[in-house]
């Protein structure tokens, strides 16, 4: 429950005498620190709003925009906003001050946040929101709501212009939960950050449900079940580190230069293992991460939504030094299927890459969309369609490789040639078909199988013939639907050559 009745600290008024400036700064700093000492619940919170902003950016680079802005004398605005650099690149930071009315967003605080948002959008810098706020400040009434709405509108305007990252470092209710939902990536600190429409007390009053803040808005709920947040970390320090890593893969704004690093070869052990990594039998699972190790640069990566819809992997990585978005089916989790949640996760990721001109590398080993009453009830058709749209809308380089099998609608959805992939390959042993051999022969040879004395023997024979004659990738290659049939160990070089060509030898 946001604590809104804390009296403002009005122990000094801001002087306009220039000779008193150092004193005024000291008073401001002291006021913030002493206020912070009374923040409830303290929990794992260690750092003030200003300290958080300073820790996020390069040491000494943080500049606060309007440090003396205040809702009333001595009260503070409730937010620290400013700019700094991460790895030398400019970034705008907004950090809620939980020590001022639980970080609740009043009219003045909203104005300060909007000023920072406007600056980031107009100048083309990514913005990081450090959220720790009880939501709209009730005392400010309709002015608070209007201010929150203005923040949302700028969140939405920013989507087509700059990357937006939200950190959840405390209980965030209402407006403080909605703004993150309008940003690109949300990182939560375990057992410290929560996001909910409204807190446990109001939930109890509204519906009678007894639920803790963790139950209705904890990081496990949102990074595993709901998909509202995309990464769970153990501490504020880790949240800042993850944010800096995430920014290292992204341009500062749409149309901005891609951040190229020096190329690093793939891990040599993984490269050696690559030709025999994928089990020949298409029903046996394996870890797709090991395959990626044999293709991508052996350097920093960031997987987003690792626990939500784990049958598909979404991560930022590098190949030949290019920052890329990687989408890959993960056979090790739920057989690598696509379902409603996996489709939403994948579509969101591809759409983001397209928006910021990041190349999309797709690694396919998919048994299909999961059918059945549960998935149809979840709207798998609508969600799957979003994945198709995301690929078609994405104009950045799209490279797709089928590493084992790709069937039916899922074949189309996983970055196929028909959706505009710039290059498509299939590994020599892979299968591409409308459905798997078992299912296909059951339909195609229904009568023969019904009349056969030993239907399972006949089915296996027919399936083997189907696998060789219909599902092999050479048919697709002859038809021009895949560009080429390649060996696993050729994948990295093919992708690098295609990326160099598609990006005119630069960043993309």
């Amino acid at each position: 429950m946001p604590k809104l009745d804390r009296p403002a600290v009005a122990d000094a008024t801001v002087s306009t005498d220039p000779h008193e400036l150092p004193d005024q700064r000291a008073i401001l700093a002291e006021r913030r620190t002493s206020r912070f000492a009374r923040v409830e619940p303290k929990g794992k919170r260690v750092y003030t709003a200003r300290e958080r902003a300073e820790m996020l950016v390069d040491p000494g680079s943080f500049v606060e925009m309007t440090p003396m802005r205040s809702a009333s004398p001595g009260a503070g605005s409730g937010v620290v906003s400013g700019w700094g650099t991460t790895d030398g690149h400019s970034v705008v930071v907004v950090s809620h001050d939980a020590a001022v009315a639980s970080g609740a967003i009043g009219a003045v605080m909203a104005e300060a946040i909007q000023k920072a948002q406007r600056f980031a959008i107009d100048k083309g810098y990514p913005i990081v929101y450090i959220n720790d706020s009880g939501g709209a400040r009730i005392h400010d009434g309709i002015f608070a709501l209007h201010g929150c709405g203005g923040i949302f509108a700028l969140n939405i305007e920013a989507q087509s212009r700059i990357p937006q990252i939200s950190l959840i470092l405390g209980p965030c209710a209402g407006a403080a939960a909605y703004s993150p939902a309008l940003t690109d990536w949300t990182i939560m600190v375990k057992e410290q950050g929560q996001m909910f429409l409204t807190g446990p007390d109001i939930v109890k009053a509204a519906t009678g449900e007894d639920a803790s803040a963790e139950d209705i808005g904890g990081s496990q709920l949102h990074t595993k079940v709901s998909g509202v947040a995309h990464l769970e970390v153990d501490s504020e320090e880790e949240a800042f580190h993850a944010t800096r890593l995430l920014l290292s893969f992204l341009p500062t704004h749409k149309g901005g230069a891609q951040k190229r690093h020096d190329p690093v070869p793939a891990n040599p052990h993984s490269v050696e293992a690559l030709p025999t990594l994928v089990p020949e039998k298409s029903s046996i699972v394996f870890d797709m991460n090991k395959l990626l190790d044999g293709v991508l640069d052996n350097g920093a990566r960031l997987e987003l939504m690792p626990e939500h819809a784990p049958s598909i992997l979404t991560l930022f990585a590098r190949i030949d030094g290019h920052a890329v978005g990687v989408l890959a089916n993960q056979p090790n989790a739920r057989g690598g299927i696509l379902d409603s949640k996996a489709s939403v996760k994948a579509a969101r990721f591809v759409e983001f890459c397209g928006r910021f001109d990041l190349p999309v590398l797709t690694f396919v080993d998919v048994p299909g969309f999961l059918p059945g009453t549960v998935e149809e009830g979840r709207g798998v058709i609508t969600h799957g369609a979003k994945l198709l749209k995301a690929y078609v809308d994405t104009k950045s380089p799209k490279l797709t490789v089928v590493v084992r099998k790709s069937y039916g609608g899922a074949y189309i959805a996983m970055g196929s040639a028909s959706l505009g992939a710039h290059a498509n390959w299939a590994w020599a042993n892979s299968e591409i078909a409308v459905m798997g051999p078992g299912g296909a022969v059951a339909l195609l040879h229904r009568r023969a199988l019904k009349e056969a004395e030993e239907p399972t023997v006949l089915r296996d024979e027919l399936a083997a013939v189907y696998r060789e004659e219909v599902a092999r990738p050479y048919l697709a290659a002859e038809a021009g639907i895949v560009d080429d049939v390649i060996l696993p160990e050729e994948t990295r070089d093919r992708m690098i050559a295609a990326l160099r060509m598609l990006t005119h030898g630069q960043g993309s």
């Binding site: 046996i284 699972v285 739920r334 078992g438």
Partner: protein, 75 residues
Amino acid sequence: MHLARAEIVSNVWKIEVREGDQVGPGDVLAVLESMKMEIPLVASVHGHVGKILVELGQIVQEGDPVIEIDETAGA
């Protein structure tokens, strides 16, 4: 008591353990078949296999308990 649950709608294809077997994280308890994939159900805790709650060929829904594990204290 820990319950190993099905991660996807599937049929129980193989059961690889018996009641009383000692298991640890990563050990395969059963193999579920769905979408023509052999999906291993692995233990996530140390313990002894308790009741096996399904039969071969039975259809399980996502989240259904498949095998009980009596967790070993302190392991």
